[in-house]
Symmetry: D2
Amino acid sequence: MEDKFLTGRLEKKLTKEALEFLVLDDIEWDSKIIEEDITGNEAHTLMLWKTGIISKQEAKKILGALEKVRDLHREGKFKLKPEFEDVHLNVEKFVIDEVGMEIGGKLHTGRSRNDQIILDLRLRLRKEINEILVLLAKVIRTFLSLAEEHLETVMPGYTHLQHAQPITLAHWFTAYVEMFLRDFERIEKTYQFVNLNPLGACALAGTSWPISREETANLLGFDGIQENSLDVVTSRGEELAELLANLSILMVHLSRLSEDLILWTTYEFGMVTFDDSYAMTSSIMPQKKNPDVVELLRGKTSMVISQLLLSLCLMKGLPSGYLKDLQETKPAVFKVTETVKRSLQVVNGLVSTLKINKQRMFELAVCNFSTATDLADFLTRKTGIPFRVSHSIVGTLVRNAFKERKKATEVNIEDLKKASKEVIGKEISVSEEELKKVLNQTTSIKLKKSLGSPNPSEVSKIIEKNRKKIEEKEKNLQARINKLLKAEEKLQSIIKEVLKS
Amino acid sequence: MEDKFLTGRLEKKLTKEALEFLVLDDIEWDSKIIEEDITGNEAHTLMLWKTGIISKQEAKKILGALEKVRDLHREGKFKLKPEFEDVHLNVEKFVIDEVGMEIGGKLHTGRSRNDQIILDLRLRLRKEINEILVLLAKVIRTFLSLAEEHLETVMPGYTHLQHAQPITLAHWFTAYVEMFLRDFERIEKTYQFVNLNPLGACALAGTSWPISREETANLLGFDGIQENSLDVVTSRGEELAELLANLSILMVHLSRLSEDLILWTTYEFGMVTFDDSYAMTSSIMPQKKNPDVVELLRGKTSMVISQLLLSLCLMKGLPSGYLKDLQETKPAVFKVTETVKRSLQVVNGLVSTLKINKQRMFELAVCNFSTATDLADFLTRKTGIPFRVSHSIVGTLVRNAFKERKKATEVNIEDLKKASKEVIGKEISVSEEELKKVLNQTTSIKLKKSLGSPNPSEVSKIIEKNRKKIEEKEKNLQARINKLLKAEEKLQSIIKEVLKS
Amino acid sequence: MEDKFLTGRLEKKLTKEALEFLVLDDIEWDSKIIEEDITGNEAHTLMLWKTGIISKQEAKKILGALEKVRDLHREGKFKLKPEFEDVHLNVEKFVIDEVGMEIGGKLHTGRSRNDQIILDLRLRLRKEINEILVLLAKVIRTFLSLAEEHLETVMPGYTHLQHAQPITLAHWFTAYVEMFLRDFERIEKTYQFVNLNPLGACALAGTSWPISREETANLLGFDGIQENSLDVVTSRGEELAELLANLSILMVHLSRLSEDLILWTTYEFGMVTFDDSYAMTSSIMPQKKNPDVVELLRGKTSMVISQLLLSLCLMKGLPSGYLKDLQETKPAVFKVTETVKRSLQVVNGLVSTLKINKQRMFELAVCNFSTATDLADFLTRKTGIPFRVSHSIVGTLVRNAFKERKKATEVNIEDLKKASKEVIGKEISVSEEELKKVLNQTTSIKLKKSLGSPNPSEVSKIIEKNRKKIEEKEKNLQARINKLLKAEEKLQSIIKEVLKS
Amino acid sequence: MEDKFLTGRLEKKLTKEALEFLVLDDIEWDSKIIEEDITGNEAHTLMLWKTGIISKQEAKKILGALEKVRDLHREGKFKLKPEFEDVHLNVEKFVIDEVGMEIGGKLHTGRSRNDQIILDLRLRLRKEINEILVLLAKVIRTFLSLAEEHLETVMPGYTHLQHAQPITLAHWFTAYVEMFLRDFERIEKTYQFVNLNPLGACALAGTSWPISREETANLLGFDGIQENSLDVVTSRGEELAELLANLSILMVHLSRLSEDLILWTTYEFGMVTFDDSYAMTSSIMPQKKNPDVVELLRGKTSMVISQLLLSLCLMKGLPSGYLKDLQETKPAVFKVTETVKRSLQVVNGLVSTLKINKQRMFELAVCNFSTATDLADFLTRKTGIPFRVSHSIVGTLVRNAFKERKKATEVNIEDLKKASKEVIGKEISVSEEELKKVLNQTTSIKLKKSLGSPNPSEVSKIIEKNRKKIEEKEKNLQARINKLLKAEEKLQSIIKEVLKS
């Protein structure tokens, strides 16, 4: 058995350019799942022994070799060789070289690289998902704390990026909390799919060996087994697409957050200032303080979306069963999860250190007729004219104020009377005091009564509710993480026993 | 109040090209949610009355006008006018014209078009989702029935579109069943998000009117309320993106199914024949029978994926709050759901009437060494040589057979001996009978033992399990549908009462 | 010959759901190319006569029927019937019904629907491309005129959306002009591909009839012939993808323009005001003036991009030759070109009527250290210290100013001396006057010397150059349009002659 | 000046997670353009000297340091440090450390990282484009040679993946040649845009230094200058998007080629065999010979398309000027060009070594009524019945044959008579001999007369024409490559002179 020990019916090695095209990039990614591949090999070996397919002695030898390759790997001394195509053959070749073909040649009994790669990727993905959720929970807590702090911090609410109505910063923070909680739930749902055992599907048709898929499921901490073997092999892209879709939506939320902050930190808006440790300057313009972090967050959102497209476009039109095309989805597993983790970390730090310019927020909420709706509502309530009419009167009032370059704070009762006359032909009986009071934005927020409105009492309820929600979610998440840790510990303790025997 | 009754502070009408650009396409789509808009108006009106914001008399008048506009609409006589921008203003204008500004002008109290459009779209989306799930359940049942019929129909299993190992048609059908069940669950999950009441979020900040969001939630059959009003308005694209992602994955499954069938119906594969009622011919080539349906299914998959990208790319980088960009996601609501429904219907019909060429399937499963893996497994079991070695021997056997242009059915014991010598330097002790038996594909399937393999007993178990699963799911689906129907009935009966009072 | 006159070897009609799925949407789009289909039929008929495949009498009869169907169509009386699948069969069926099978049955000689649909779409696309270019040229002229007007209108230049250096509005306008000119050239290039004759490729293999592809090319005003018949049929999606890519980039430019304007029209930036005829208000907030047009432009950009992805994702992995999937690219032909035309029209109107707030622009360019780079350059030039050092001194100066809440206009020579001491340990010999002069932004622009800078003399040169460029381009465009008009006229005059004969 | 020598007005370093997020990935990509960055620095330095901004002595020192950093880099000893953010600051820092701040601090005079990065990327992109075109030309030549070899190799032409009409392999090869030639032209067009000098645009507003953009353009072999400095900075993503669109279409062509070959190499089609050096086997199924190369080509097509989406989605909605988001487009520059180059190389090798099974191709072209259209055409020509009628007769003939399980070669004159009677109520006067002759596919191809048809004489003309075209194109390409080489040589010789002085 020479270099390329897996030749099957083929008589030639790949040409140099074919090897480069097929393996060179891919094996770089494979080098990131060496741990997972070894763990999968260990569980498979134990199962082969427990089902009597190999002897305990054989299992011991193989497990010893696997222990060795892991040690080498952790010392940075195990390099994957392109001529053995991928991580699976590299590890198998190592085992065979170590313990001889007679025993090592039995390792690949009752499985295929098709189920092996899915296994490795799931072992990795479930870990990544848990890490993402831990970080997301942390962000949610940060936002909840900040919301609590800013229950009464009035700011302009925007629609069409124009001043709409006053809201509070707490209201804004909790809006993102609700988005993130939905993200959390979507990603949790994907975990349920990812944490099913694919091993034993083999190439596509299972095997005639009396393997136990339950055994490997238990050893590896899976919550269940994905049954139909053809479905397992065909689903490789599906679990990724589902995850990428959910992470894309999460990133879209981060990009909207970024856009808000990019705007707020302009000279013109001036509502927040980033800490210097989250800003960069220019090589030529010494006065610059640029919001690079949030810009790049927005940019990376496009990257994550593009990986979702890649996976869907790639699977579209493929027949069932495994096809090499699917290899091209591998980079997304690593690139996207790392990007999302880094994004959440940096968001948490950046938002925690944000300096809020409350005065500017207040000023912007006051000066530009954000409370016009309150005035219209008030006119209707006070005088009984229909909302559609009071809407028209206030619209006219504002139009006139703009013409006379009056700010909202400068409008007086005469202006209202004039507008009223224009629209309904008569004055409206409201006092100067009432007008002023309604146009004041603090009152505005307190006046809001509807469920989910920026009224501090409403926002407080939402904070309370969501705090409980995230606590519950974190508890469950920790339970899932612990389950995996225990399975890993148990696996290693069984191996130790076998090795000692 | 002339033509454009909603002018606010603006002094001019839109120019012709601005109106065309902003309204002309969009109002076509709006004309598809007139029913939903009226229903939403009705619930809002009842709530305004129940909370004392308007009087019963006022409610009665408005409800009468709404009844009238619905009648007109159902007779095809209510055409939306572009100068009133959208369905909401068109309906409101109708009501005002009908009952006068004094009363009609109160209809828009305590809400905004921002929450209204989300309401209308959700009322529609939840209906579409239910219809999709009904059709998907039907497809799943059809596939399960066909699987039952074809438990022993042997066919070649493919990986890389090359013969891999024999499977059964039942195994193939149930693989798709498992995919569709995951699709079902994903879409169900989205329903939970869609069936929350957005009404009362108003523009973004709720309202100072004492509205009851619980009341409208009950009247409209919602399962709950989406609380934070800024989140409601910001989430318009999110619910759609989530749905489109799930429908994209479903369509990818249909496109993979299509690709399988397109190949199988070629002259070369010849494994299935479509019924003439699902095929088209050529305007020039009289012999043609083209699988247009499955080709177009594959094509429409790209369309659905593109709508997902539209929604994500559109939201990326938008600040929070409503922005006009979101209008451009509206077509997807209708186009995609209709496409998916039609796709499921046509798949069901096409697959039900498919003519299976069992003989050809069998022939292809036999002739081309699909059972080589069984042979390798057998050699290992019989003689104790490691799998990696028997893999090599069988690989050599096949290579030689190809050189001598022998089919799998023509290989004999001498060939095996020769291959064995080449690889391990000695013959292997297997009989001609054993060799023939193992290379026979029927045995192959029966020999498979692993959970989820094509062994008929394994597939039967999966059929059984999934049949129960889909029954359970259909029951819950029916309960959801009934809940909506009852809410609708109750709403109409309350209205009738008010109108009679 | 009954209803479905094209049955070939098939024995059944399509089922209802198959017909709906395959035809119902598609035939709506087909109804937009009835004119093109008739024109193509006319040219084909004349060619059949000129090459002797049919007689003049036969040609006359067919042309008469085609004239009739066009008249009916123009009167809105020719409705496409789904049971005849598409526009081609509908028109052919009309001709056959009109002049009998004996003669009408000859119309489809030597062609296929595969080349016919490509022909129809190209006849339409080339027209659309020309219309788009006419509108784009108009926008370019508008921008050039405005640039001329605003050569000295100073505004803040942004990078990272932070004040970078002062530029002029003319510099900004001409940046877009350069983008649009590249768009123009890219789209022109696609025209060259689109304006090649596909007719005569037939289904994929040409024909044994002695047709003349040169003749139809001439009659239809094509610039040449796309030769290889298999390539013609396979290229259906390619020409569209090329066009959609170019239009996507154009739309990206419009979306960036939109983003600029959306920001500039916020209360906070306040640099421009839209004319009321390009703004909308809110149904609830009477003070609102929303920039709906530019928001929707940004939104529609995602739509155009999504259509590009549709076309690429759809073609990916298709084998060569025609496949039904390609039908799904048809909507893009109409939707995207219409969207782009409307977008250009509305941009032209909106920008033409924009009210520029020069004072605010100036103010923002002055107050926030935009000229810090000029100061660093000046220090280097004046005193010989390296740029990297002066960059550091000015950075320190600005940092200190921010701490002391000083505006750029309030900084004095003492501040500079202090910063200098901090960085290089000694004062720097610059006068108060020099400092003030350099920090003044008008000087800044005039000081700029490099090719392409905002210096009015540089911008003037660019305006001049681009004015010539667009004039040249419009001349060539007009020549292309005229060529098509003349071909059309000639075609009709030949037909008239034949009909009279 | 400590570690982070570029602090400007900022007082803190980036936090660890911000540095990781902003720099860690990106600087990996930057390490691929160190050569380009040094070259750009050299040209800039020479220009600063020639325009008198720095002295010859200063230039000499700086150039010496640049020479040194290049040597280190080529020896693998120059590692980019994340704390200096990017390649530009790393190189500048090296120079300053080497020659002191007094001189090295002048290197960054009159430029910015904004124009520097665009310069570096264009220097790289133009090289990549040329390499891609060289490889594409090679593929075109290979296809032309193979076409010449297979002028008379009859194969089934497919539409809808069903047998349509016989074509030749030469016809198929030349179809791809025509696609590739269009790809060539599109990519050439992008080169024109890429090979314009961006240097001197600085941050966005040019500079007050008397730099010469013509000088750097000449030194670097650019064909011209991109003028407007704001446009330069804004266009960073545009040139990439244009290139990615053109490469996406090229990859779509390769994926369609792949799909053809994947099908042809199945057992069922059996028309071609790959050389073993372009195939892989299975770890479990020893008989497998998988077409991994073409599958992965199809997979990588989705990757390239996804990068196009990334770039468009990323730019959408960005304001003008540089923004950090654009950094995220950098990976595409390297990943996509490398992928395309490897793809072209592997396609060339794979197609060159393809084993064609002429007999199987012929057999498939004969057996399944591919010449039905020829028969219909013949009936029309022979007897004068309209094509639409003969189409119907032949359709009936085929339908009957299928029912009686007759192959095309088994159909006789009685069958034709029967079909004729069914359709037109009478027999048609054609002889058995004529029928057989027409149904023979060799004749079919020779009978084809139309321009661009598979008739060998037509294909020969296309080969001839395209051979000339590609020769011409290669000549121009070589001229462009030489121009760059000469500029590079001249630059280095000037530097040598200065260093010697």
